[in-house]
Symmetry: C2
Subunit: 312 residues, 2 copies
């Protein structure tokens, strides 16, 4: 019986691969660093090797489909070609879908990584059963996935959900995306570490800053307040524009939500229409690092007809 999806989260740093069943249970998880400056050919060989480890004690006939996230734009009718990969530039132009189909001789589904996280949380995570929600992935950068009427908004060019590059300071810091004042420059792990340096705080990472915050450090408190207000300003705009039921905060930085979550909520309450601010609750994601794997597996189950969600 083909009851599993071989699902992977392909990032600039790591490849995480596992089996996911139709209830969203993740098993046989393997995580390995992606070789630096990997070529398309090397990436396929690397995927093949990791898949061998994941499937070491799994009957291969149980695998019904291959599901990969990619740190790249993915449209509704995605052809598989990886474009605009700031974190995995060495494989730009590669057709990941075609390569995976050749490698596994199985149907292949690819989702943008943040969109996949949103789908995962919307399936069995924090926003399960919520028709309209915005998921923010807070890590080195900021990504996002927007679900409206139960369907992800991938956008005409697969840019949909790139809320990390909405402007919060019109004349603010230059961002690598070409804009200035993006929320990513004020609320990502990178931004937290930079603000620590700016404040001559000894923390050199968002995690160290969070540990200082836990010890009552007032500078850390101030930095997380600034960070939370920037994030809240951006989300307040989306509260007015989309009036969703929920904002889900995912990604590594979400682990520190007790340091900044209330600042986010306060800023949304101050800036959005009262009804929209009250409706759009801010919660932490529940699936941790597995959100993407679970989400893209969900997409595969839906496309195979195992799960029915019109239009996912």
């Amino acid at each position: 019986m083909s009851d599993l999806v071989l699902a992977a989260d392909l990032g600039g740093t790591n490849l995480r691969m596992a089996t996911v069943d139709a209830a969203g249970v993740v098993a046989h998880l393997v995580k390995r660093p992606v070789p630096e400056d990997v070529s398309p050919h090397q990436l396929v060989a690397f995927i093949d090797k990791i898949a061998g480890q994941v499937l070491d004690d799994v009957d291969r006939s149980r695998i019904a489909a291959i599901a990969f996230t990619a740190p790249a734009p993915v449209t509704d009718d995605f052809d598989g070609v990886l474009t605009k990969l700031p974190n995995l530039g060495s494989v730009t132009g590669m057709n990941l879908k075609v390569e995976l189909e050749k490698l596994f001789s199985l149907p292949v589904v690819i989702e943008n990584d943040a969109t996949a996280a949103a789908i995962g949380e919307n399936w069995i995570g924090a926003s399960r059963g919520v028709e309209n929600c915005v998921t923010v992935t807070l890590g080195t950068g900021i990504g996002g996935g927007i679900i409206i009427n139960g369907r992800p908004i991938r956008g005409k060019d697969g840019i949909g959900g790139e809320i990390g590059h909405m402007t919060v300071e019109p004349g603010g810091r230059p961002c690598k995306c070409g804009n200035q004042g993006c929320v990513e420059e004020y609320a990502s792990a990178t931004a937290l570490a930079r603000m620590a340096v700016d404040h001559r705080h000894p923390a050199r990472s968002s995690l160290q800053l969070y540990e200082s915050w836990q010890q009552g450090d007032p500078i850390a408190e101030q930095i997380f307040a600034t960070m939370g207000r920037s994030l809240g300003q951006m989300l307040a705009g989306l509260a007015n524009a989309l009036n969703p039921e929920m904002f889900v905060i995912c990604g590594g930085v979400a682990e520190g939500i007790d340091a900044f979550g209330d600042h986010v909520r306060t800023e949304i309450a101050a800036r959005a229409y009262p009804a929209a601010a009250k409706t759009g609750v801010v919660v932490k994601g529940e699936l941790g690092d597995n959100a993407g794997i679970i989400g893209v597996a969900r997409s595969a189950f839906v496309r195979m007809g195992t799960h029915s969600i019109e239009g996912l």
Copy 2:
């Protein structure tokens, strides 16, 4: 044959009422100022009187439904009660749907005014056939309607599309919505007139300022550039978040789009992802003051089954 909808655009200043047929043709248009501080009872009498004028030479059996826009939040399952009416506060709490049903003994459809304009433009106007688009209504204030996969995003509380209250200047001008730095404070007709005063320019309205611009006035050029950049900053955020195919500029101020449109486009190009900026063309609405009437009539035709659009 019941082939017409009696459609009306109920605003804080005017009531516009007409018949609309299944092809979107507007006829028998009557426009009258809404009495100041009108009570719910007076409003019903006023509507009855105007309807009498509109239908003076129309066979009443041709009217299949009543379709009204309101300057109020309208949800997917709207019960008809008017709430949060900054421009028509004297009828707050009135159940417009029930009153109209009693008055006309016909099915009643109500849409938020800006959402209706977006639906109208999406039916037979500038964005006809476009699956994903954002419509901005530029007038005294700024409203908006967002259509994704052909369906308007009304939001959980009917706030969806309130893009005039997205922040563009975090520490900026206080807005009557309670936020500060809303794009409405920088890009509405009111904002244009205020900026003229700030610059000691003789224009006292956005129209006068536009006439100065047409004559090559450099201060007017500067003000429209500022205005266009603010609007472009907000739309660039939506270009990244939703990656739509089109931005439609409607409302009275849209008539001056040649003074500010290119500044909007330049700002979107500078701030949004290149693919999203290229895809999201900025155009002027085509239906003028009739966009709302046409749009809400469309909603009525869809709900009656005359037109089929799943979920409108």
